[in-house]
């Protein structure tokens, strides 16, 4: 990893549809070198995958997401890792983090509707060994996801010419 790799990552993070050629021009590297670097980043699992930021609310598929917080008793030798790995295998769990504070694990869970989310929590998550307490927060509206604002911002007026 060097400065050029970081630059490529920043470009791709902003827009992964840039072509190798475009990235080469922007970074002053050869096209071949950019392709090699991207391949290395993919193989090193630094680039996990190329995904799209979608405003699902606007797409109107009616999915519901919830933030679930869990109090967990850690295991000897493994701490939180084994239970976290088990939880993360569920398709419904989109994000899973170990956090400080009152709760230990924080999940973001997505389902077709509120019933599906609550059923998932009560049937699959809460009964697991070592989980002592759960707190479920249904997400009502998302204003910003991963650095992307999801609400309409008025276009600022700019002069067409200024010296």
């Amino acid at each position: 990893m060097d400065e050029k790799d970081l630059e490529i990552l920043r470009i791709l993070e902003e827009n992964c549809r840039h072509t190798t050629n475009e990235i080469a021009t922007m970074t002053n590297l050869g096209t071949g070198e950019v392709a090699e670097r991207i391949q290395a980043l993919e193989e090193g699992q630094i680039i996990k995958r190329y995904s799209t930021v979608i405003n699902w609310e606007r797409a109107g598929n009616g999915e519901v997401s919830a933030i679930i917080e869990l109090k967990v008793s850690p295991e000897r030798d493994f701490g939180y890792d084994r239970i976290a790995e088990r939880l993360s295998r569920f398709r419904q769990v989109k994000t899973l983090r170990l956090i400080t504070g009152t709760y230990d694990l924080q999940l973001i869970v997505t389902g077709k509707n509120m019933q599906e989310v609550s059923r998932f929590v009560s049937e699959h998550v809460a009964p697991m060994d070592r989980i002592r307490e759960t707190a479920t927060h249904i997400i009502m509206k998302s204003y910003k996801e991963n650095g992307n604002t999801l609400f309409e911002q008025p276009e600022t007026e700019r002069l067409p010419y200024s010296p």
Binding site: T25, M26, N28, R158, P160, S162
Partner: protein
Amino acid sequence: MRNFVSERAKEIPPSGIRKFFDLVLTMEDVISLGVGEPDFNTPWNICESSIYSIEQGTTSYTSNKGLQSLRDALSVYLARQYNLQYSGDHEIIITSGVSEGLDIAIRSIVDPGDEVLIAQPSYVSYAPCVTLAGGKPVPVLCTEKDHFKLNPDRLAEKITGKSKALIINFPNNPTGGVMSMTDLKAIADLVIDHDLLLISDEVYSELTYETRHCAAATVSDLWQRTITLNGFSKAYAMTGWRIGYLCAPKDLCDAALKIHQYVMLCAPVMGQVGALEALRSAEEDKNSMVNEYRLRRNMFVAGLNRIGLECHVPEGAFYAFPSVKKTGLSDVEFAEQLLKDQRVAVVPGSVFGLGGEDHLRCAYAVSRKELNTALSRIEAFISSL
């Protein structure tokens, strides 16, 4: 009725982009590469601190020089960033943009008949400000061959017994040219030998892409004869806030302050509060904007050269300055026809004085997507010629 307009006001030429302005207002779907300002919004922490200060009732005049806290913060910032030494107590004035700083700098040093050398192509206000102060603007050409740097031989040719000052602007609007320490040293010798004052507009100092900016006042013995102008507009995307600053040795600063207190009293306090926050917490925002400009520059300049508009690589600011000579059109013709045919707005180089003819100023402070569309449109225009 008499014609009330003063001879000096008559002497100033009308703006070279007025007719483009009128034309563009009648059109839709125009991509404008004509604006000399960042396309980013002001970083929110800056806005937030200014809003908060208004809520707290910080809405009165400040001292003429500007908020002491802002001047002190600038003093620290300039020393850290450029090794520039100015005291926040006596050597810094907060101005309403660099535009005001330039005006009061010129008015505080120019007497009627004084000649003021101006490295051109240059920002459009330098010569009119000199004229308004009763001085005579004397352009000095910076050529593409010299990478739009100020060449000492060309400067020497224009120096006369009446020369009082030299105005430079590096990184340069409109060419993107920069001057290194070595380049500036060659100029410094002439400035000192001929006992000139230097006005250095460094508003693009944060926007350099290959090397760090070299502040003119740090070169040789220039400090005592230099007025440094800078501001927040370009680095922090704060054009509408109108906050600049003038730095100079105390005697020069005092003279400029006398004019500033009568024409401006002080720069707007909300802007000053925002500027202070910019220095405190917007370093990261600034860096990511500069990074983005670098990528766009590489992409856009390569694109211009690919489609047949020769363009040197600008090392600073956010302007590309390609030549249209090969197309057989003048810069004004090219800019006008391009706007009408392909709806891309650029500024003809001749607006920026000597050396600007046959060039276009294209600001790449627009999104990558728009830059790509603009390139396709310019390419279509060139192949239609």
